[in-house]
Amino acid sequence: MKLERQSFLVLERLAKPSAHKVHIVQTLSEALLDWKPSMRISPIFAVDRPHAPSTSALRGRRRLLFIGPVHPDALRWAQRNSRLFVSLGLLNVLLLPNSRAEAAKLLKWAKEKGLLYEAWDLENGVVKKAVFSEAGAAPAELLKGLANLSSMALPPELSDAVGEYCPLMACTVSRGSSFPSAMLQDLRQIDNYVVETVRELKGSAGENTPYRVLGQLLSVNAGLSRFSSQTFAGTSPIMETECHFWSNSLLGIGVATLGLWHLNSFLEQTLGKARIPERFARLAEIRQDVPDLTTLSINDPFWTADHLGRLEPLAREYEPLIPPLTYFSGRDGFKSTATTLSAPLACVSSCNSPRWSLLTLTHEVSHTIVRSVVSELYPNLGEHRERLETLDLIERKQGRSLLEEIRRLLLVSIVRMDDVYSKRDGALEIDEESLVGLIEHWQREIEEILVHVFDFLYFYGKDVDRYVSGIWTSWGTIPNINNRIRDYVIRSICAVLSIHLRRPSGEESARDQVYRTLTRIFTETNDEYVKKAMVYIEKHWEDEIRDRVLAHKGVVKIARTFLFSDAVATALRGDPEISGKAGKKEGYTLRAGYLDLRHIRNPLRFLEQYTTSKVASATASAWIFYVLAFCVQGR
């Protein structure tokens, strides 16, 4: 089933007679030239018909069916007697049967499969009658919980946000009855998280304050609102549910949100379940044979051991993982918070190209994990006792546990970085006050280096060319980053340095590899930022970059040795469904652009292989979302 070119389905409300009319246009501009206030539009894609549907496709008496969410392969049999299209909406398969008997057969099939459906009887495009399936109800206990939450006496700062949250969640869960059960489970976990957070605030004198909870709640509300609007617009009754992503206002983008959810779900099942921050915290239990990490030879096997892999998470129950709400947002772009994960709206029609590839999300996910790790690594600077202990640790020359020794290496690295940047010759006098300033000043840079190494090792599989291309291409979408180019160069070289640490001049090998890839990117794209990065490396390696990279080396070592685990990486990057020779060109047997139901287990590896096109294409991007939404097999 080949996904063919894009057309647009347009719906408008007629004044006389009072009804809706639907028609197909070939381009968005064609629709815009005759735009009416009540119009809504969505792209649709013909299947197995290379020619675009003519405007006459809906003339005469026709029945237009919407069925979903379902992989179109399940309706392959219907192609004999129906014209088939797909959309990005949750009711994703559109059919124009050639008889009423065929339409009845299709609706019967949809009912038997428990799918959502809607059928429009058309007369020259005017909708004369619409029938549709009913969405299921939300589970009673969830509604009861929301009712209790809404009636809770809360500080005034919170009551509006809770008042917004409760009906939003009730609506989302009740409309989402056709979702995979794991997705509904995620929504319930988010609900539990919200209820618990609000309850803790009410009953405790803990660290939660109304404004902190408000921030969390606003973030959940914003994510849930977008998720719900984008997913359920275009569900029954289609004529009444408008999506505010205007290029998809008729049918919404339920398939895309389902795809994004599957991608995130895979990350939860692999990286999330690996519990890296919890394993990292357990390094505090290692108190014997802890070497001096600031002087230990880089060729010592200690640096290449799988420390995290050896530390199984403790048998005790961890706090459940909070599955982030996934949604698309033009304003947030690629962004992660504790409860949300967003991708730019542009991904919906352009994710087949590296610039808008969903792989960029890995950087955001890396930030989430690294933030948790860093919270274990840094001392609590708000406490006098911990500040004194930290000063003592710097003086002591040896941590009492492996975690403490890693912290010492981090502190020593921070001092070195500060020395280099401030061009200080003598030793820095550190007291309690300057310690706080120093750590706070370098916190962001430390997190970025850890994230870049983490992303490169886990998600990019140490593939320098793909990594450098990936990050510099995505930076190319950010306006006005000229003043950040120097930092980006340092981060790129540091990430690549993680595979050259054991070489005598590893930083130069890393520089050369990064420079080589930048040269290739510039040749292909003429990107101004990339050119500036190349010039910076050419002119300032000796007088600036080398020293900065060397100062960062301790942080790179921490990420490489204590955040990376061979065992976790195997789960994250492996997929038994990948076929092909063992050489570089390995991949899936999926044919790009064909809607064949072939399973994949690893959406990241799928995206690596199929989001490489130089030209963004709505059709190719829709195919990617179809694979993510319907072909990812759980583990």
Partner: protein, 221 residues
């Protein structure tokens, strides 16, 4: 026409029809394919494919005559020839017009099979295994193992967690030569010294089916 299919190396694919039983007549409908005979003492069928175009590297001008052997079982069919490319060619160019919906590959859970045999020995032993090692990214992509019984080697068992297997060879644990090689994408190949080999292959496939290593990706209409 050569009617003897022994002493040839066969490669092909395990395929499945989403809707119906695969018939011999289906295969006879393929352009330039004709039925030759049933392989002696088996349920395997031997066909001949005549092609003007070389479907593998040839050192003489056409036309060419390629042997095809098949084993049908319900909606599944194993199709093999002297190279896998010939079967891929049939799948892409000829089967499409005969089977609607098209035949699909049956995935073989090679990773599960290898790890299953390594952890709990069976009547079959591993004679070959090819694995990706995703943890090491581009630094180390793949590893191959060869031997009479790989799972007996602690070196092999000790690294199982880091490997994702995608091709393997099976032999009977009691001895003798390798019976069949299997690929995750439904690829199957074996050397047919005598016609008895197809019966051994059939038994090995029954074992895979029984143990749940053959997975279908088919939607019922």
């Amino acid at each position: 026409m050569k009617t003897d299919v022994t002493n040839l190396y066969f490669s092909g694919l395990l395929l499945e029809s989403p809707l119906r039983t695969v018939q011999r007549a289906d295969l006879e409908k393929v352009r330039n394919v004709s039925f030759v005979e049933v392989v002696h003492g088996t349920n395997w069928e031997h066909f001949s494919l005549k092609s003007e175009q070389a479907l593998r590297p040839e050192d003489r001008p056409g036309p060419y005559d390629y042997p095809i052997i098949c084993r049908r079982s319900g909606s599944r069919v194993l199709v093999l020839s002297v190279t896998r490319q010939i079967v891929e060619h049939l799948l892409q160019h000829d089967f499409e017009s005969i089977f609607s919906p098209q035949l699909r590959r049956v995935s073989i859970a090679v990773d599960g099979l290898v790890k299953g045999i390594a952890n709990k020995p069976t009547a079959y032993a591993l004679s070959f295994a090819h694995a990706r090692v995703p943890a090491f990214g581009n630094s180390l992509r793949a590893i191959s193992f060869y031997g009479d019984d790989l799972a007996e080697a602690s070196l092999f068992r000790g690294q199982l967690d880091l490997m994702v297997f995608f091709t393997c060879g099976l032999r009977e644990a009691a001895g003798a030569t390798e019976i069949v090689r299997l690929g995750g994408d439904g690829a199957i190949s074996f050397f047919m010294g005598t016609s008895h080999r197809v019966l051994e292959v059939e038994r090995a496939l029954s074992f895979l089916r029984h143990e749940g290593y053959l997975t279908s990706e088919i939607w019922a209409a």
